[in-house]
């Protein structure tokens, strides 16, 4: 069963990823991204990370992709992009070489190392057990060992939201200043 789920989800994930890279229309790319993220959430379930599978759907598919679509519609860049033109000569050849190198090295490393035989490594944070729910185990670690990091992410989110608002507002005001200066 796990094998079947893995094969189907891997196909969805890879098809969605290729859709993001190859789509000429940004809206289609964003929708392909939803497919990838959804397949990834099911893979998380396969790996018994239940909480993160739910968060993946809510945060990524629910918030981030909607933000992408919102910006695409707001800017009106949902026109087709001409992919036949290569902006820099040899760029795609070099990018393909880099990709093949990355993938080849990663796969060679994965296959040559014995990942399955790591049972002797000491557990750093907390065992994954069946005694408590997945959510409770994450919360135990998050609010004890990583509580300062957790507070820091709260500050990070606040700063980024304030930064986004300030950036949009200031640009608008300087646009108006420039226009009024141009009128004079």
């Amino acid at each position: 069963m796990e094998t079947a789920v893995f094969i189907v989800c891997a196909a969805i994930v890879l098809a969605g990823a290729l859709g993001v890279v190859l789509a000429r229309n940004p809206v289609h790319a964003a929708l392909s991204l939803v497919g990838t993220l959804f397949g990834m959430a099911v893979l998380f379930l396969n790996l018994e990370a239940h909480f993160l599978a739910a968060v993946q759907i809510i945060v990524y598919a629910g918030a981030i992709v909607v933000l992408f679509l919102f910006v695409i519609m707001l800017l009106g860049v949902d026109r087709l992009e001409d992919l036949s033109v290569e902006p820099i000569t040899g760029q795609r050849t070099l990018a393909a070489l880099v990709g093949l190198g990355t993938f080849g090295l990663a796969v060679a490393f994965i296959l040559s190392s014995d990942i399955g035989a790591v049972g002797h490594i000491q557990v750093l944070t907390l065992d994954i057990t069946d005694q408590y729910s997945n959510l409770r185990q994450i919360a135990d670690v998050l609010f004890t060992d990583y509580v300062y990091a957790f507070e820091a992410t709260a500050a990070l989110l606040t700063i980024s939201v304030v930064g986004a608002v300030v950036m949009s507002r200031r640009m608008a005001r300087s646009d108006e200043a420039q226009e009024s200066a141009g009128d004079d």
């Binding site: 891997a10 990823a17 990838t36 993160l52 992408f68 990942i115 994954i128 992410t153 986004a164």
Partner: protein, 100 residues
């Protein structure tokens, strides 16, 4: 039985697709989506190793990656919106200077 290697190879493939997309595409929005693909590949690696090493720390790391990804998208899209006000339909090739 699906071994950890399968998940890691899938993550490597996803990371590669994202990296090549980031190098090839010139639309800033698509480039952001490719970064998201790469972050997701790393998340899958974290969770796979977490299960393989029987350690919940992998899933906690993914939680932090999700938060940072959300913050990154918010700031990145604000920059894209700000740039588009000044220069409509700008691609990454047009943005060689930081000043507007």
């Amino acid at each position: 039985m699906v071994t950890a290697s399968w998940y890691l190879i899938l993550a490597a493939a996803l990371f590669t697709i994202g990296a090549v997309g980031l190098l090839v595409r010139r639309n800033p929005l698509i480039m952001f989506m490719c970064v998201e693909l790469m972050l997701n590949a790393v998340n899958l690696t974290f969770i796979t190793f977490g299960r393989e090493l029987n350690d919940i720390g992998g899933q906690v790391s993914v939680f932090f990656v999700l938060v940072v990804a959300a913050a990154e998208v918010v700031v990145g899209l604000a920059i894209v919106v700000a740039i588009n006000r000044r220069r409509p339909q700008a691609t990454a090739d047009d943005l060689s200077a930081l000043r507007g």
